[in-house]
């Protein structure tokens, strides 16, 4: 196994204050590093050691400020580590930002050549591939327009087309595909898959875990500049989600008080037998238990739960109204709502709650997130469906039944069904 990228004991520091002239000169003129200097510094990477074998696609995940982009910049050769070293084998193609390496006053056509020159591609080679670059970017009509008039989506299309066109040995992508429209996203994912098949080592930084799961075989999880974990995608993502969930849940107050009449003391997610859970299999019933306490008398309320995805898009809202109208809460108790067969894809979701007072719909408790859970892929893993779905990212997993009925044949299709 040959390593395409090796990081050994990499430390990277950013100065929050401008370096004093005296120290800068010491740095420049001597080999000694001015360690004893004052001034606030931020360690973006701390003692990072990582090896990426040739041909692997490594996802890098972690919260904001974990050092993901810094690592990419060092691998791309844009900046240097302060300690340790990074070894990169072969030509690097990188797409780390919208419009990276483009000059706004030049036209798209001129920028293709400029970018090629930046990454050291001979003009002749660019000319050879020019047509396929343009075809991929779908920007034929805009080629002779200055890039300053391009939308960010158009810039990304151009940048991605050029960056992937010259068979990089190592390709770096930093959370930019999200800018393109869905059609281009799909196209660029397919292009990355092509590069993978061609043996390119890909490093993919993203907050979109579904995309990471789709593209990467291994994932490195960075946290405040250190490598927390590196391993098979599903395992690392699962553990990452668990800590994110915990972090998220820690932010949710254990006891939610309302105007005083109602106190929501606890929200628990449970499975079919009532055991508390944070993870559910695809299609498994998800129960939400709301523990309440009412100070005095009885309180007529309408309770609503909603499930949102990581981007806080509302997927479904369940109201208590059509079932029991209204709920009469007295003393202490538990309101239970079960999503019988949630058609959710393997992802991370949030549960929100709202409580309205029954007669006049006065807000007793405004919408607020109260729990998070993960849906895990079961026997049909993401990687399996991946082969069929290509780069399409379904939101829902609806139960289907399939059959074939030949019109004039005596043969009957065997009744088939899948969940």
């Amino acid at each position: 196994m040959i390593a395409a990228v090796t990081c050994e004991g990499v430390w990277k520091r950013y100065r929050l204050k401008r370096q004093h002239l005296r120290y800068m000169l010491t740095d420049l003129l001597t080999r000694r590093r001015a360690d004893g200097e004052k001034g606030a510094t931020l360690w973006a990477l701390r003692d990072l050691t990582l090896e990426i074998p040739q041909g692997q696609t490594l996802g890098i995940i972690g919260s904001n400020g974990a050092g993901k982009s810094t690592l990419l910049r060092i691998v791309a050769g844009v900046t240097y580590p302060n300690e340790g070293h990074v070894r990169v084998r072969g030509h690097v193609g990188a797409l780390v930002d919208v419009g990276a390496g483009m000059h706004p006053d030049l036209t798209g056509r001129e920028n293709v050549f400029l970018y090629g020159a930046l990454i050291g591609v001979p003009r002749r080679a660019i000319r050879e591939r020019f047509d396929s670059i343009v075809a991929f970017s779908e920007l034929e009509e805009f080629l002779d327009m200055p890039v300053r008039h391009y939308s960010s989506g158009m810039k990304i299309r151009l940048g991605f087309s050029v960056a992937t066109q010259f068979d990089p040995a190592v390709f770096l992508v930093d959370e930019v595909l999200a800018v393109g429209d869905v059609g281009f996203q799909r196209k660029s994912i397919n292009r990355i898959l092509d590069l993978q098949r061609g043996g390119t080592t890909v490093i993919f930084v993203s907050h979109d875990l579904v995309m990471v799961e789709r593209l990467c075989t291994q994932v490195a999880w960075l946290e405040t500049g250190t490598l927390r974990e590196v391993g098979p995608t599903d395992q690392v993502i699962a553990r990452y989600l668990r800590t994110v969930d915990q972090k998220f849940l820690r932010q949710i107050p254990d006891v939610t008080r309302t105007n005083g009449a109602l106190e929501v003391s606890r929200i628990a997610l449970t499975d079919a037998v009532g055991a508390e859970r944070r993870e559910f299999a695809q299609g498994e019933p998800i129960g939400i238990n709301l523990h309440y306490r009412v100070r005095e008398g009885s309180l007529p309320v309408t309770i609503s739960f909603k499930i949102t995805d990581e981007q806080r898009r509302t997927l479904t809202i369940a109201h208590s109204v059509p079932e029991v109208s209204p709920l009469e809460l007295t003393g202490e108790g538990v309101v239970r709502c079960v999503f019988e067969q949630p058609p959710l894809m393997p992802r991370l979701y949030q549960v929100w709650v709202r409580v309205l007072r029954a007669p006049n719909f006065a807000e007793e408790l405004a919408w607020q997130p109260v729990a998070a859970f993960a849906v895990r892929a079961e026997e049909r893993g993401v990687h399996q469906t991946h082969a069929l779905d290509g780069s399409d990212l379904p939101l829902l997993d609806l139960p289907t039944r399939w059959s074939v009925s030949p019109l004039r044949s005596a043969l009957r299709a065997p009744g088939g069904g899948s969940r």
Binding site: Q19, V86, R87, V92, A94, A100, G101, H103, L106
Partner: protein
């Protein structure tokens, strides 16, 4: 150490030959390697110079006139104030010819240095996102302003005809002198570009220094009255003065310059270049963090 390496020649389906880049805090920049890398990226040098020219002339009304106008205007202005003192200031040549011969080479120098000052900071978007030999940025203006110089030189030819100043064969010696000027400019361009990346004050200081520098040198008046014993000191403090004097010697006076002075000048410029380039490459490793 190599960064922003050249893309291997591309043939369909072939995997590029493997080169290994090491990014380490302890990497020592090697001058020769770095220069080779620049040569390998020469197309970038040309592309940015071309971009420079395009951008400069695309959205301007007068276009290429701007290449010659500053020097011509300065020549006219100085002619009004200094031309009246007779030919003692201009070593016996018509003042406009004398002044213009200094001004075109000086303006070349000044425009390269002032453009270099902001070349690193102004290219924020590529420096922080793509790896390439960044010394190319301050150097491109040597090429693009070189085009302006050619335009100015043709106008200078017209001026020589108008004032009936004969030019002898020694004028071809202007080429090696230009080479020395280019080395000097390359060294100083690196210095101001790197300094400005760390301290933006530099961009305000450079124009002032250039202005003062012009009047300290023999650009618009002769400095021949400086005694010979002091001239070497003057030359060290202001190598551009020697360069401009040398241009006048070979173009206007038809003399061959003192080879010792020329060799000394060349050696000095080369040494300055080596020092500036080495320091630039050291500072360059972290320049993406400060621009």
């Amino acid at each position: 150490m190599s960064e922003g390496r050249v893309h291997p020649a591309l043939t369909a389906g072939a995997r590029p030959a493997e080169s290994v880049a090491v990014y380490s805090a302890d990497a020592r920049p090697r001058l020769w390697e770095n220069l080779k890398n620049v040569v390998a990226h020469r197309e970038l040098l040309f592309a940015i110079a071309e971009r420079d020219l395009r951008v400069r002339y695309k959205q301007t009304f007068l276009g290429a006139v701007w290449a010659v106008l500053p020097a011509v205007l300065m020549m006219v202005v100085f002619n009004i104030f200094l031309g009246r003192f007779g030919r003692s200031l201009s070593e016996g040549f018509p003042y406009p010819v004398f002044a213009y011969s200094g001004l075109i080479f000086w303006n070349y120098f000044a425009s390269v240095i002032s453009a270099a000052t902001g070349s690193i900071t102004g290219s924020y978007s590529i420096i922080t996102k793509v790896a390439f030999p960044r010394e190319i940025l301050p150097w491109t203006r040597i090429l693009s302003s070189g085009v302006d110089l050619l335009v100015s030189l043709s106008l200078f030819g017209v001026l020589l005809l108008v004032y009936r100043v004969d030019v002898s064969w020694t004028a071809v010696l202007a080429v090696p002198i230009l080479a020395i000027q280019v080395i000097l400019m390359a060294a100083l361009a690196l210095t101001v570009a790197a300094l400005n990346a760390h301290y933006r004050d530099v961009q305000y200081v450079v124009p002032l220094v250039l202005q003062a520098w012009m009047f300290m040198g023999p650009v618009v008046y002769s400095t021949q009255h400086i005694p010979g014993s002091l001239r070497w000191l003057y030359g060290i403090l202001n190598p551009m003065a020697l360069v401009i004097d040398a241009y006048r010697q070979v173009i206007l006076k038809g003399q061959v310059p003192d080879p010792r002075v020329m060799l000394g000048l060349f050696a000095g410029a080369a040494a300055l270049f080596v020092v500036c380039y080495t320091l630039f490459k050291r500072a360059d490793r972290f320049v993406a963090d400060v621009v």
